[in-house]
Subunit: 304 residues, 2 copies
């Protein structure tokens, strides 16, 4: 099974602290990297994890608050300094465009690559990116400004050929791609070998849902059903529920409710308020509702 | 003597590395903090050194390259989140203004403090800031875009009163401020006590010159003569002199020449190229010309 991993580069909230950096994560699948949010210092954190900038082609921004975008100018500049020529695609609510345009205008004279911004409709649940390996869906969220999450859904790979069957029935090598694509084979003696007899099914597909920043949305569960991993913001403990509501954030308990309702396999909570020092109590609060919960932390790599 | 210290928060160049962060320094004098340049991550580095944002009133920017300004959006936002009301003054070449204006417009709705930008003429050597304790001079530099350094000159304090003379001659307490300000005193028996007899001179004043980014400028020495500390960029070793000239940077040897010509007391070199791994050889190269040289490093605090 190809590695599908999520790297936590920053899991703090608006104000960075000694412990936590502003929001940034990287999804790694089949050699490609996808960044989600790009808080200040993202390029340094990226570097520190030994990730390769040339493998990063797409950045998905959840919303246009500084702690989710202030790493873009530095990242864009460093890519230029490293001689990037490949197009960079940035996805996000339309409000993000003005910032990118300004950075390009003021600091990107003569850079050798193109930056293409794709406005994401934060009200709709739709595919915003697709390639051979992955589909990325937008997830409508509710925050003080337009915001959306993203669901990364691995596409099914081709089934694996049973080598011993190919050998036993003298099936020509030129047929292998057809068989992988779904065909069967009729042997010289007329025996019909079905596709299923010749192949082992591909590994089951995996998915990762990123939901930050948002007030608790019960309707979310249907959109992220059964995800292997859910990252859900948990800015506050339940005792500060009033504050979470005021600021359109969620509590740890609410993040766990979302995980439970959506029947995800694992929950990672983060986007911790700078005022919260006791994250273990956030973890306990979430685990009371959804046992398979972990705390995000800078440098954490979660394998799906 | 009041502490006068320089904190190195970042001393890398355009591309941050595992070792070095983008340019940022903080001058601390008599309870006030002055920032010089504000590369990405400046607010986090500031925080990590235990410095107090409410003491920071002025930021001096050398030039409008990303590695010297990309920390401004995050710093400005965090000040707002912390409830700042005091005006923030930013000094720098006029080109910096567009970036600050954009950050204010896009991300500072409803912030409770005023940001005032002061355009510095990078061609002239003049006082750009002055208060009771300090004068800050601009230093014309030569880089690919308009750039200037800054010289922080402590103002002389008042002389100290000789307590035993006050007691011996029964000088009224109400005269102390006059004497500190330069007056003498005539005793009851007619004896004239000069100002010098009644006081001990204030500690000698100190100065710090920051010169980055710049090609080597022999003319610099007259402007920074006798500084207690000179920070001079040393992006390259002497063997890459051609590259330094091409990019309007200096070599370690040239930084040391500047220190020697200006007869400064101490030299600190930094703004190291991301391609330079052997900083000790940069140090040796500089020390061959100017012995009292040290290497900048993140977290270094230099007491003047």
């Amino acid at each position: 099974m190809e590695p599908f991993s999520v790297h936590i580069l920053g899991c703090g909230s608006a104000r960075p602290t000694y412990k936590h950096k502003p929001a940034c994560q990287v999804v790694s699948l089949r050699g490609k990297l996808f960044m989600i949010d790009c808080g200040e210092g993202a390029q340094m954190a990226f570097n520190r994890q030994g990730l390769n900038l040339s493998r990063l082609g797409c950045i998905f921004i959840s919303h246009n608050h500084g702690d989710h975008v202030f790493g873009l100018p530095g990242l864009i500049s460093t890519m230029a300094l490293l001689g990037r020529t490949a197009e960079l695609h940035i996805y996000g609510p339309k409000e993000v465009k003005a910032f990118i345009d300004m950075v390009e205008q003021l600091y990107c004279e003569g850079i050798d690559y193109k930056i293409t911004f794709h406005a994401v409709d934060t009200k709709s649940h739709q595919i915003v990116f697709e390639d051979r390996s992955i589909k990325v869906w937008s997830i409508p969220l509710e925050h003080r400004i337009p915001a959306c999450g993203y669901m990364f859904c691995e596409k099914a790979g081709l089934p694996h050929i049973k080598r011993e069957m190919i050998d036993a029935y003298n099936i020509p090598v030129c047929q292998i791609n057809n068989i992988k694509a779904g065909a069967g084979w009729t042997a010289e003696d007329g025996q019909v070998l079905t596709h299923e007899m010749l192949t082992v099914p591909a590994a089951p597909t995996r998915s990762f849902a990123y939901c930050s920043d948002t007030i608790y949305k019960p309707g979310l569960s249907s959109l992220i059903k059964g995800a292997d991993l859910l990252f859900h913001e948990a800015t506050y403990p339940e005792k500060l529920l009033y504050r979470a509501k005021q600021t359109y954030h969620s509590t740890a308990r609410q993040a766990a409710e979302a995980a439970k309702n959506a029947q995800v396999k694992k929950l990672c909570i983060g986007h911790f308020s700078a005022r919260i020092y006791d994250e273990v109590s956030l973890l306990k609060e979430a685990q009371d509702v959804f046992a398979n919960t972990i705390l995000a932390n800078e440098g954490l790599i979660i394998e799906l």
